[in-house]
Amino acid sequence: MQFSHDRSGDTLVVNASGRVDGSNASDFLDTLQGLFEPGDQKIILDLSGLEYISSAGLRVLLMAAQNLDKQGKSFSICSLTESVGDVFRISGFDQIINVFPSVEAAK
């Protein structure tokens, strides 16, 4: 997995690409949460470069979303590829986590 991020004001945009499955899901969560700073109010995860996500990957996204929600922060994901979008749609996660078509729309 590769990560890059961009912070402007209280908004953090994280770009994650590659594959998330059972073998790296907990590393994915650690890396993601390691990027958060106390001042971040809005966290947007840009998944345009994500090729594959397994159910273990969905689970860590849910954990991240719930943690941020508890702190009163907003979390959304955006720019899903077609196959990753299918995973979100079929599992119903698009009803649990905010999904936007682009980073701009998520802001």
């Binding site: 059972g22 159910s55 599992s91």
Partner: protein
């Protein structure tokens, strides 16, 4: 020679004792099982306290002095590893819900169907033996690799072993576990005059995931007995699993109820790929999706259901994403398209043949590429 399993039967009906001794005589003679009887919860606790060799409890709910639900609550104080199977009536969701919350492992319905009881008892005991092995290994501080091995045995122990086919229909199911990942399970059981079918995928691996798998299976079977409609069953299971789920595990599944007399199949989907229907002419279609979300992650989700009628010769394929996401050496996925092609123009003549065909095609496609997820397929064919 291993010791027979000791089973405590708790019921105030005096007829049950001779009936069990008669219907289980083969297992008793073969020294597989030994039965102990109690007429109510108080008597049951006395026997359990006096006899630590009892392995499982089979208990009715309504009894004088102490009922089965109160007894369930007391069991962990006697031995936390006792497994309890509850005898309940159809449609008794309130009691079943309480029993699940109090740790019941499985359910059988009244009036007792002894074939079903034998299956349930043997599966409970198999699970118990895997569970004890897991505990023993944990005590020895085993490596992770071994933990996954145990998880995989626990996973195997909850799968149904006995076939359930009649002249009217055939069910065939198989699960090929991946080496290190594993969360799939399937189940099928008789529910009155109908057949319940489940294919499921739990979000994680290892022993915690197999515990969650166990809870999912118990919640599903209990709810299936407690409420009729598949959509109501999933609503119930979702709330049950969500109640106590600090680690955000979840399970996606298809739950279907088939009536062999009319051919009607009613199903509800929780965050899972919809089943495929292959008609007798070899036309393949995806069954309509229903509304719902993976089970266990959010409270009060609305689930819906659909009903289709299977004509003689129609086949329904339930599967997990281990089939459609199987990869070949070029990193391509098997996908729904290739699964459909297995049957397009060649309708299966039997459920077992259809099942074998799916696994053969996936294996052929994957070649030398490593299997990264469990592969599960359950086929129902109306004769």
């Amino acid at each position: 020679m291993t010791q027979p399993y000791r089973i405590l039967v708790v019921d105030d009906e005096p007829d049950l004792e001779p009936l069990i001794l008669q219907r289980m005589r083969r297992q008793i003679r073969a020294k597989e099982y030994e039965f102990v009887f109690a007429g109510n919860g108080v008597e049951a606790l006395e026997k359990l306290n006096a006899d630590p060799t009892i392995d499982m409890v089979l208990s009715d709910i309504n009894m004088p002095k102490m009922d089965g639900l109160t007894l369930l609550q007391q069991l962990p104080g006697v031995d936390p590893n006792l497994r309890a199977v509850i005898i309940s009536a159809y449609g008794d969701m309130d009691n079943i819900r309480t029993a699940m919350n109090r740790g019941a492992f499985d359910f059988v319905t009244k009036p007792i169907d002894f074939d079903d009881l034998k299956i349930t008892v043997s599966r409970t005991l198999e699970h118990l033996s895997e569970w004890r092995e897991a505990l023993a290994s944990r005590d020895q501080l085993v490596a992770l690799q071994n933990e996954l091995g145990i998880a995989s045995q626990l996973q195997q122990s909850i799968l149904p072993k006995q076939p359930l086919s009649t002249e009217a229909f055939e069910v065939s199911a198989n699960m090929e576990p991946a080496r290190n990942v594993g969360g799939d399970f399937y189940d099928y059981f008789k529910l009155d005059n109908e057949i319940a079918l489940v294919v499921a995928d739990v979000s994680d691996k290892g022993i915690p995931a197999s515990m969650f798998m166990m809870s999912s299976r118990t919640a599903l079977k209990g709810s299936a007995i407690g409420v009729r409609d598949p959509q109501a069953v999933l609503t119930e299971v979702n709330n049950q699993l969500h109640q106590d789920n600090p680690t955000f595990m979840f399970v996606t599944l298809v739950y279907a109820l088939f009536n062999p007399d009319t051919g009607s199949l009613t199903y509800s989907i929780a965050g899972h790929d919809p089943p495929l229907l292959v008609d007798a002419g070899g036309t393949v279609t995806e069954l309509p999706m229903t509304k719902g979300v993976a089970l266990g992650i959010a409270p009060d989700v609305v689930y819906t259901q659909e009903t289709v009628t299977l004509a003689p010769g129609d086949t329904v394929i339930l599967f997990t994403d281990g089939v459609t996401e199987a990869m070949n050496p070029d990193n391509q996925q098997f996908e729904m398209k290739r699964l459909s092609e297995v049957f397009e123009g060649s309708p299966p003549v039997s459920a077992s043949e259809a099942n074998t065909a799916v696994f053969e095609r996936v294996r052929e496609f994957a070649g030398d590429a490593p299997q990264s997820d469990d592969i599960t397929c359950l086929v129902l064919r109306r004769s």
